[in-house]
């Protein structure tokens, strides 16, 4: 009987320990503070990240935007990293407001918005809260706003580069979890590839989480085993994907930030965020004592919210020409990625013939299908 007791004690200890490791010990107050001279009382702007500010990925892209803001005169930037999408973000916002006198806060991760940011915005009606990911709906607190970039435009360019460069016509996509933004990127990647090779397919593997290194490594290996010769991803940090692909001799397209340093020879291009322009614009508005004009702000290549990495040596001349054409269209605001007739991969028509969905179309933000040519499950 003694041994049973011990087994239970063991189990209990493991459970307690596990929840502590996974839930609690990322709490850390690492505030990078940078100040610029000018003005009597600087405007304090807060940035909150889900990861670390140098993670080669999503959070780094926002941090680079924050650093552009820090260079503005009369602005003080406070940052907090590794904040979870829980009550922790409320504490982080409260801290910035009460200890640092922040007037404008950017909680940058998707899950911060509802209910955390909304509740805090109600509590502090005179401050401004702007959320990345675009979940603002009519009726939400008036001092809330959201912004997001049409990064699928840049992913579409990655698709064009990949479709032209692939020998097998089989492309791989390592994705975290099936949410509309991820599905939209996968679909844009395939549609880009099909402009170069109408028979190209994209095989998608969901790893089940934003940061699952082991599964990402396995996913790339499995894709290589099945004959894919180009791979891209939509995970928190693309480093493991890019390095494994290098090991398997595959070509790659990056995501979030420029990943060409890992494999300069076989890096085709990549979709990158460029948050500096929008952050500077928002901060200028608040500094002038005004409120942002719109609650929902969107932008793509045209607005400089996203960009493509410089093309690598393996991008074909035909792909390069096509990318230039598509970029010119995007810059003119005329790029249409999703147009009919378009079938999903279950054989259902999702966009009827003759219908074009412009990038600003709201329906694209709830994308619940993978298009024909994508091998993988929507769920």
């Amino acid at each position: 009987m003694k041994s049973l007791k011990i087994a239970r004690a063991f189990a209990a200890a493991l459970v307690v320990a596990g929840s502590l490791v996974m839930g609690g010990c990322d709490k850390k107050d690492d505030k990078g503070v940078s100040t610029s001279a000018g003005g009597d009382k600087p405007l304090t702007v807060g940035f909150i990240y889900i990861g670390t500010k140098d993670d080669y990925g999503y959070s780094q892209a926002h941090h680079e935007g924050a650093m552009a803001v820090a260079k503005m005169p009369g602005v003080k930037v406070v940052e907090q990293e590794s904040v979870q999408e829980t009550d922790q973000v409320v504490q982080s916002m409260e801290g910035m407001i009460n200890n640092e006198d922040a007037k404008l806060i950017f909680p940058t991760s998707f899950g911060y918005y509802d209910p955390y940011m909304k509740a805090t915005a109600l509590k502090y009606p005179n401050l401004t809260f702007l959320h990345c990911g675009g979940r603002y709906k009519t009726g939400d607190p008036g001092n809330c706003g959201s912004y997001f970039g049409y990064i699928d435009e840049a992913v579409y360019m990655s698709g064009i580069a990949s479709g032209g460069a692939s020998k097998t016509g089989k492309l791989g996509f390592v994705a975290a979890i099936p949410i509309p933004q991820v599905r939209r990127n996968i679909n844009a990647y395939l549609l880009g590839a099909r402009t170069m090779n109408p028979k190209a397919t994209v095989s998608v593997i969901f790893t089940g989480g934003w940061s699952k290194t082991e599964a990402e490594i396995q996913a790339v290996n499995s894709l290589a085993d099945q004959g894919a010769d180009v791979v891209t991803c939509h995970v928190d940090s693309p480093k493991a994907v890019l390095e494994t692909a290098k090991k398997r001799g595959m070509m790659t397209c990056g995501y979030h930030a420029n990943g060409s340093a890992i494999n300069p020879e076989t890096y085709l291009t990549g979709a990158e965020w460029n948050w500096a322009p929008i952050y500077i614009k928002y901060v200028e508005t608040i500094k002038a004592g005004k409120k942002p004009d719109e609650h929902v702000v969107r932008g793509g290549l045209k607005d400089g919210f996203v960009k493509t990495s410089p093309l690598g040596p393996k991008v074909t001349a035909a792909s390069k020409k096509k990318i230039d054409e598509a970029t010119a269209l995007a810059t003119a605001g005329k790029l249409v990625i999703f147009k009919g007739p378009l079938m999903d991969n279950a054989g259902k028509e999702v966009i009827p013939a003759g219908k074009e969905m412009v990038q600003t179309d709201d329906a694209l933000e709830g994308m619940d299908y993978l298009v024909d040519g994508v091998l993988g499950s929507t769920k």
Binding site: K2, A17, V21, D54, S82, S203, I205, T213
Partner: protein, 328 residues
């Protein structure tokens, strides 16, 4: 169902191949930590802090390799850091009325947090660290897929070589006998003139060294480099695998390979186009997709544990000191 099977590819055989490949690629951290914990527990003490030791080893190995340009220096540093954390655990536990499980939990949180703090400059190191080299085990095959999946890291080979060495040492050497006697009955061992705390200190230190080496594998052999939140739960799972392995080094190897390889099932099934299994039960239809596949490693571990257990020998092999009253 559309499938992604390439001409001349291995078809569904690629799923078991992926499991083997993945087992060779990622199971080393589980192996090192569970071997280390086996040594510690054989002395009659539990070190739950190995998750923290693993992460500290990962960070230290990466940092030292980046600074020195030598992977070997990084691996050795990871071992030293692991050993120091082991000594700290043993030192604290040697105080009167200190509970080893509580100390372990504290050190786990301490290790993960300290690694996060000290590792900050190495998320994007100034110099790319030297990595531990790969060895090709697939040279006999003409199939490129087979060859690519049988690339294994030197550190994994070393880990596998340690298994028979530790098993032999525990069974056939004087040191092994002392260790086991302290773990089986501390009073008897004390009567025989052995220092209980001294033996446990060495055993916990050795366990820490091994866990630190497992950490070095995470950053110097697996891709992805050092980052915050690396391998959450890997060290804990490895500690649990020790019970599963019944405190036998050889079983630790099988457990680690099984658990590492099973993680390949979900991605590999998706890659061959199998996204869902439908089972018709007559009154209802089960649709098992990705989410169920991702549970497989855990289900498998649980299943085998239940299968190999019976009422009479469920804790067979446990060092007897671990069953004595503890301050819980």
């Amino acid at each position: 169902m559309t499938s992604f099977l390439a001409e001349g590819s291995l078809g569904f055989w690629s799923v078991p191949l992926a499991m083997v490949g993945q087992a060779l690629r990622v199971s080393a951290p589980y192996l090192y930590v569970s071997l280390g914990e086996t040594l510690t527990e054989k002395s009659g003490r539990v070190n739950l802090g190995l998750q923290g030791t693993l992460i500290m080893g990962a960070m230290a190995g990466y940092a030292v390799s980046s600074r020195s340009g030598s992977a070997l220096a990084g691996v050795l540093a990871a071992g030293v850091v692991g050993g120091l954390l082991g000594i700290l655990h043993a030192f604290l536990c040697a105080r009167p009325k200190v509970n080893d499980i509580a100390v372990g939990i504290a050190l786990m949180i301490f290790g993960v947090g300290l690694a996060s703090f000290l590792g900050r400059p190495y998320i994007k190191p100034e110099r790319v660290p030297a990595m531990s080299p790969d060895i090709s085990l697939g040279f006999w095959s003409a199939n490129e897929t087979v060859r690519a999946n049988l690339q294994v890291n030197l550190m994994f080979v070393v880990g596998v070589a340690l298994v028979p060495l530790i098993a032999w040492g525990l069974k056939n050497t004087r040191w092994g006998l002392i260790l086991r006697s302290v773990g089986e009955n501390a009073d008897t061992a004390r009567a025989m003139g052995y220092s209980i705390n001294g033996v446990r200190l060495l055993a916990t230190m050795a366990g820490g060294v091994l866990a630190g080496l497992g950490g070095a594998f995470l950053t110097l052999a697996m891709q992805g480099g050092w980052k915050d939140g690396l391998a959450p739960g890997t060290g804990l799972m490895a500690v649990a695998l020790v019970i599963f392995a019944r405190w036998k080094p050889l079983n630790c190897l099988w457990a680690a390979l099984l658990f590492g390889g099973a993680g390949a099932i979900a991605p590999a099934l998706q890659s061959v186009g199998l996204n869902e299994v439908k089972i018709n039960l007559g009154f209802t239809q089960l649709r098992w997709g990705r989410y169920v596949f991702e549970m497989i490693p855990y289900l498998l571990t649980l299943g085998i544990m239940i299968f190999t257990s019976s009422g009479s020998r469920q804790m067979a092999g446990i060092p007897d000191e671990l069953t004595r009253a503890r301050w819980l």
